[in-house]
Symmetry: C2
Subunit: 293 residues, 2 copies
């Protein structure tokens, strides 16, 4: 699959430049691939700041969610690579006021390490920083030592914690709301083709045209099972079964938010060709986040 | 390029079902692939209704732009095929109140014919209906009898005419505003690969991996020139030159809205990897539509 890019070595700084040039409510921190909200400019002493990030390649997550009601800043590493401790620390220093700062981090060794170290340094400087780890990947980590990795459900944590911060939650309250959201999140992916990194000569794995890959990794790693291609309703059924098997989501426990995305490579409407068939009580694509308290 | 779909023969009704099931502010007209706004329900006697449509395959245009401030209804045919006169007429009858209705139609023989016939029948029934034709394709039709075809610039006409209708313009005013917008629109496309229709065995044309196709048609027809692949900034430069050559857009005549899209097959952020380099006075991605009057 081809994609129009510029210099493969500059895709991340070019991405940040393009974003901040296209929206005057955003800015970057000089010398870092950090996108900041500037309308209003942080730090806001009476509001908890929210920072997320990681290796880009999952756009619009996370830089595209910097703005009113969601993130205060996003920290980007190289493609599919954790940002440096320095970059995370620069973001924390830029946005953290008296109300403190919550780091929303996908559970991935590099991100845990670098966001965690930056948080420790910031605390030693007197800043009030907490971190939550999103581990919504239903295909990986069941019972493993490192746990499941973070996937697209992280965007709902941005939204829910963002609503909490906007309405004046304390850092402890925002953290508790985020953790409650995470405990009810489950995500599973399917791919019709592998991805190719900018500048790379080949994909991470090969996939025959008549097969699909379930549960692939967030960085394009080979998944957990390979099956024959099928109409989208069947593929969605298999995904929903995988999500239900995680035990985190129930079709009888009240409203469920179903978020469908295209791994950053597929437009929203390519999934819209066929309706997602949901059990009673599921509300596809309808946000029920208003009642977060 | 693969895409998850259901029954190829049902992609359009499935698309309409998915859309109206995912947003309670939308509804369909029974028996037709027509998406209607229902919040508030038309017809609104004091507001001009706006209808657009055509053959789907360009999502989110047009059904995705039905909503407050933009379209009142969208009429869909089969993929890349004009809707029937009956479907357009059903939409006109459903939304047209005393303030009348403006049809925003891409210049394409089938659409001109079917929207035009439906407008004539509606007028004979006493409804106040006008039609504008969008002809922004910079690559086709210069001096030809049928004129240039309509492309993605149509979305800006939805936005501008939608602002006019929302703020109480008469039908004649909304039509004049739309026509003024159209006269300043110019669009050019480039493709890294051809498209394949749902259920089709092959693409309309073949393209070597190291070439790109400029000025291809809105229904995936072969374009006007084929050139070597290049970094995105060069590709964008060639597109901007094609747009300027149309004579409709000037870099010295005041603010210009630059809208970048992915032919419905490429996510917005795949174009965000590299900033669009604009001449002074150009404001990429910033809407200047507020001053439409």
């Amino acid at each position: 699959m081809s994609k129009p890019i510029g210099d493969p070595a500059r895709v991340v700084p070019d991405l940040v430049d393009a974003l901040v040039r296209s929206d005057r409510r955003l800015a970057r921190i000089d010398g870092h691939n950090v996108v900041l909200r500037v309308d209003p400019s942080p730090p806001a002493d009476d509001r908890v700041a929210l920072i997320s990030g990681g290796g880009p390649g999952h756009e619009p997550a996370h830089a595209g969610y910097v703005g009113a009601g969601m993130l205060t800043a996003a920290v980007l590493g190289e493609v599919f690579t954790s940002p440096s401790v320095d970059a995370v620390l620069a973001a924390i220093r830029a946005v953290t006021g008296a109300a403190g700062c919550l780091l929303i981090v996908k559970n991935y060794t590099g991100d845990r390490l670098n966001f965690g170290l930056a948080a420790q340094i910031a605390r030693a400087e007197g800043l009030n920083v907490e971190m939550v780890l999103v581990d919504d990947d239903a295909a990986t980590g069941g019972g493993s030592r490192v746990g499941a990795r973070g996937l697209a459900g992280t965007v709902l944590v941005h939204k829910i914690a963002g609503a909490a911060a906007t309405t004046g939650a304390t850092l402890a309250e925002a953290q508790a709301v985020a953790e409650r959201a995470i405990s009810g999140l489950s995500t599973m992916g399917v791919a019709l083709s592998p991805c190719i990194l900018p500048g790379a000569a080949a994909a991470n794995f090969t996939l025959p045209r008549d097969e699909v890959e379930f549960g692939l990794g967030i960085h394009g790693e080979q998944g957990v099972s390979r099956e024959g291609v099928a109409p989208v309703a069947e593929l969605v059924g298999r995904l929903v079964n995988g999500i239900l098997a995680s035990g985190r989501v129930s079709v009888s426990g009240g409203p469920v938010v179903a978020m469908v995305n295209g791994w950053a490579g597929r437009p929203q409407w390519n999934w819209g060709w066929s309706p997602v068939r949901c059990s009673p009580g599921w509300s596809p694509l309808e946000s029920k986040c208003a009642g977060w308290r």
